[in-house]
Structure formats: C-alpha cells, structure tokens
C-alpha cells in the first residue's frame, strides 16, 4: 500500500469503475459479458440469456426530496433499471430493491416509495423478488438490481454498430433536463419565500419527463413485431452525446449526427429559450431522457421509417473519419460529451 492519495474526480465515474475492476477476470463459463455494457449477460441455455443491471441512487446526488414525490421516486428508480434491460433488447422479469434509510423516516413515507415501486412493477410486469432494508445515517439510498431475459442472437450490445448503419433515437430529447431546471428554479423561489406557490403551469410535459420517466419497453416489443434487431443499442441516461460516444468507442466506428434531425419537443425548446439555454445543447447533453439510442442496418430502414416514435439522427462512419456533429449551417464540429460526473458536485 502506497501513501499516494488520488482524488476520485481525477478518474471520473467511468474511469473509476474501469480502474477498480481491471484486475478481475471471468471464471464462470455462464458469464458471457461482465462489466462494460448496460447490463451483464449470463448464459441460460443454448439460445437464451439473462441480463443483469444494477444502479444506486443517493439522496442529494440523484434526487432531491424537496420536489421529488416519494411515489415518483420509487417509480423512477425501477424505470431506470428496466431501461438498462431494454437497452440490451431484453424483457425485464425481476428486480431486487435495497433501501438505506434513517430511522427518522416515517413508515408512511416508505409506503409511498413502495407504492411507486409497486406501480412500476405492475406496469412493466416485473416481480420484486428480494431486498434489504437497513438504517442509514443520512438520507435515503436506493439500490436496485434488474434481471431480464432475451434470445442470445437478439441481444444488442454497444459494440455492434457498423459503418453505414443508421443512428436512431426514440421519443424526444432534453425534456427531462429542462424539467429539472424548472423544478430547481421553483425550489429557489420557494426557499426565498415559502408562501409563494410554485409556478409549474405549462411545464407538465417536461416535469413528468424528469419525475416519472418511462423505460421504453413498449419500443422493445415493437422492434420484435417489426423483426428488427438493432446492430447496437444503449439508453440515454447521461446525455445523447455521451451515449453516442460510448457506441462509437465500443463499436470502433465514427459518426455524423445532424442538428436539424434531433427530436426536440416544442415545450422543451420553448423552456430552454426562456432559460437562455440552447435547445440543441440540452438535447445533446441533458441526460435522464431514458430514450433508446440504437443503430440499424440500412436494409431494415424500410420496415421502420414510418414509425412516429423514431428519429433518424445520423449514420455511422469509419472510425478514422471521426465523430462529428453537423450544425444547421452545415459545419462539422467534433462531438464531445459534457457528461455528468456526480463526484464533481460535492
């Protein structure tokens, strides 16, 4: 043991996991994929696999109980884990939920949290199969593991994108981020004067995107009906730009994405402009949209082109050609991620 002291911020969240787990090797033949994608992959039979994903949510880092109702929090905590299973093109089946909570927290508050968890389990047809409830000295901690299933030849990894594949995204982007901005603004107003009612009028859409996002399980089922297996897929949790770069890195490809093709809801861009923010920047870097970003082979384009839930935002290129964002004037800008590093926020 050396006396060196390195700050966690120096490595960042992804760098830290890579650093800490680089010595670990795979010993079980059932483990087909460990760390590095949205979920791990375990072999069940010659044609079936299981998907396992885990997430920890910490009060004050991932959520703020001042504006996050506990029922919504429970729902969202499940949805973001279900989203990871969807990102592998799998169907979620089970979750475990561990909670760390202060003894000062009344049972009725935990009941609300579990009402949200229950609503999500009903909606996504998954079973709560285990968990742990323990004391915590400060704040609420929620750790969820989601388990799903899929056909071995239909699992979508981050690493499968090929040159000329089309880059697609479901739904619209930046809404969850703008919802958070509105909630943060109203929190500050409330802190300054608790008698003023929060002004959330007209922001229902983006606030719901923030407080109660849905995993796109509907879209996974739709892909099956269309008989399309994306060549790669990831969910948009940290922001579109960051996720595209994950696919490029894992697949060893480049990309061109087009500003004019980014799906941004009118309510999102209107609010962004009100906040003096660029709607495109919010869509690229906003995070927490939990939409699905995926690539398809061009041969599948005709099957999906009329689908109202999908936008075609660009295509993949040779790795040497670089990763570019093409703005509305036609200028190519190197794509960069302004990701989220929770360790910076403390």
């Amino acid at each position: 043991m050396s006396n060196k002291s390195t700050n966690i911020e120096e490595l960042g969240e992804f760098g830290l996991i890579d650093h800490l787990t680089k010595k670990f090797s795979i010993q079980q033949k059932s483990t087909l994929l460990g760390i590095g994608d949205d979920a791990a992959v375990i072999e069940l039979s010659h044609d079936e696999v299981q998907l396992v994903s885990t997430d920890m949510l910490v009060e004050g880092i991932h959520f703020n109980l001042m504006y996050m109702p506990l029922k919504h929090l429970g729902y969202k905590a499940v949805a973001v884990n279900v989203s990871d299973i969807c990102a592998m093109n799998g169907i979620p089946e089970q979750i475990t939920v561990s909670i760390g909570v202060s003894s000062k927290f009344p049972v009725e508050a935990l009941e609300e949290l579990y009402e949200g968890i229950h609503a999500a389990c009903e909606n996504y047809k998954i079973d709560l199969i285990g968990g742990d409830t323990t004391a915590s000295f400060s704040g609420l901690i929620i750790s969820i593991t989601a388990i799903g299933r899929g056909k071995k030849d239909q699992i979508t990894y981050r690493s499968g994108a090929k040159e000329y594949d089309l880059l697609c995204v479901t739904g619209d982007l930046g809404g969850a981020y703008m919802g958070l901005q509105v909630l943060e603004r109203e929190k500050e107003v409330f802190k300054a004067n608790p008698n003023i009612q929060p002004d959330l009028d007209g922001h229902d859409y983006i606030i719901e995107k923030q407080l109660k996002p849905e995993a796109r399980l509907d879209f996974i089922q739709y892909l099956k009906e269309l008989e399309i297996v994306p060549t790669s897929m990831i969910d948009v949790s940290d922001g579109l730009a960051s996720e595209i770069l994950h696919i490029c890195k894992a697949s060893k490809v480049g990309c061109h994405i087009y500003d004019e093709k980014l799906p941004i809801d009118a309510k999102t861009s209107m609010t962004a402009i009100d906040f003096n923010l660029d709607p495109t920047t919010c869509a690229l870097n906003g995070g927490e949209d939990y939409e699905l970003l995926f690539t398809i082979d061009q041969k599948d384009f005709d099957k999906i082109k009329g689908n109202p839930h999908v936008s075609f935002i660009g295509h993949m290129t040779n790795e040497q050609d670089g990763k570019y964002f093409i703005d509305k004037s036609g200028s190519a800008i190197t794509l960069k991620a302004q990701g989220w590093n929770h360790f910076d926020e403390q």
Copy 2:
C-alpha cells in the same frame, strides 16, 4: 395519504420488509420464490434454478472503518452474500457491487476495498459482472447482489423441516460476536489514549471470525459429495436463536435444542468469561458467524455423523410442542431471539 407517522422501530427490520411488500404479487412464471428466504429462486430450465440474494452494508451501522481494514471489508461484503446462496444449497457464480462513497475518499482506499472483493471472487470462483459507483454525502455504502445456481430438487428452503428431523450447525458459534467485543474495547482504549497499542494478542481466531468470515461453500460441496440434501437450511447471520425460529416459523414445526450440544470454541468461551458474558448467550444470539444451520432427515444421519464440521444441536418437534432450549440442568426454556435491529441503534 394519511398524516399518521409510524416509527420504523415499531415494525423492526423483518416486519418492515413484510409490511412494505405485502401488496406485491408474482407476475412472471419464471419467478418460483420471491421475498422471504435467504435468496429468491428463478426457474432456468425444467431441472435448474437460479438464486438471487442482495444485501446493503452501511458504514457506522454494519461496519466501522476504525478497526475494519478496507480489504477485509471488501472480502466480508462478498462472503456474506455468497453465504446466502450457500444457505439455499446453491453454487454462487456472479455478483454485482454498487458503491456509494464520498469524493473525499482517496482512490487508493477504494483500491484496497476492491482488492478484498477480488480476493473473495477468486476464492469463491465468482465473477464480478456489474456495478455502479456513485457519490455519497456521508460514509461508505456497499450494495451487493449475488447470483447462484442449483438443481431444482436440491434447493433448501427454510420451510422444509419436518418433525423428528435433526438440527445441525457447521463450525462453531459466538466467535464473530466476541471478536467484535474485543475490537470495540480496543477502540475505546485507543480513543482514550491514541498512544496505547491495541491489545489483540491471543484473539486472532475470534477477530478473524469477525473481520474475515468465510461463507461455507466448502460445506455445500461436501453435502453434494455425501449426497445429502438438507430438508431446510439458513445461514447464521443474525444469531442462532433467531435463525432457528425462522426455520420453525417457515416449516411450521417446533424444536428442542440443547445447551450442552452448542459448538463453542474454547477461545470464544474464554473471552466471553473475561467480558463477564455467558458463552451460551453469545452462541445463541451473537450473529455474524455465517455458519450454516440446517435440518436433515434421520435416515441421513449415518452419512454425516462422523463429520468434524457438523454439530447436532437438537431436533424438530410438532409445532404444538413449542420451541425449547434445554439448559445444562435439563430445564426447558422457551427459545427467544435477541435479534439485531439496526434501526434501534441510531
């Protein structure tokens, strides 16, 4: 939502989980067992099942970094989850590890933690397949999910014990608890005068039982060799009495256990006496031994009777006959659990 405010302590840890999850139903046909045993059971094929168990460890509640070296903590966090898979008579294969940690924690400290996790993965031949690393405002939080596998007809539930079955336990009891007492005493001495070196001489055995317990995976493999399938099994995490009562409740049986048959190592009883504690009480209620408590049909007794790792501490009776502890004078005392309720400690 009512305005009632109920304290978590009123329900206790087990009561709280039961209360919060009572509304949840099983929707997936692959879920054979949800909450209520050491691990959940998921169907893999007509004869094979998967076992899933999860635990959250919180600094200041489950461990104290003043005397718990991080490497040992990493090892123990894995071992206690592996122990849950063993308690179902399964073989552990994978784990996920989520960590919440302050940004003030140096990377080198996390490296030590992961060295312990790595050592446990190597020892138990399991793969680290996923995880999350996030900021936390206070202290270290470790959430682990362990996944294992077993033959459907060899899984041991808490509910399978029958009248006349023999009650058995591996190893010896109370050591981990007495190790904790020694460590706590030396912590107080150190706080009073940091120049005094801790006096841990002669306590290696019980301190190792506390700081670096082993899951009894060796014993699961031994049971397979002997072709014995226990009728019920549980691991001793909260204390022998508490675990026996779990089996009695789930199996709807009573029991007689005998003071003179409790396996207590001489070092444990010697230290207990030094601390003015009754060794039997430590063995019954000490917790954290991570030995296996199980019942076998009498027909299997001959196969296992010579085994040095097993003590036969009593037998199961008809439920109406009650649950009794027979002391050395032959008096029968109603068995009670002085369990651990972490919510009381805050």
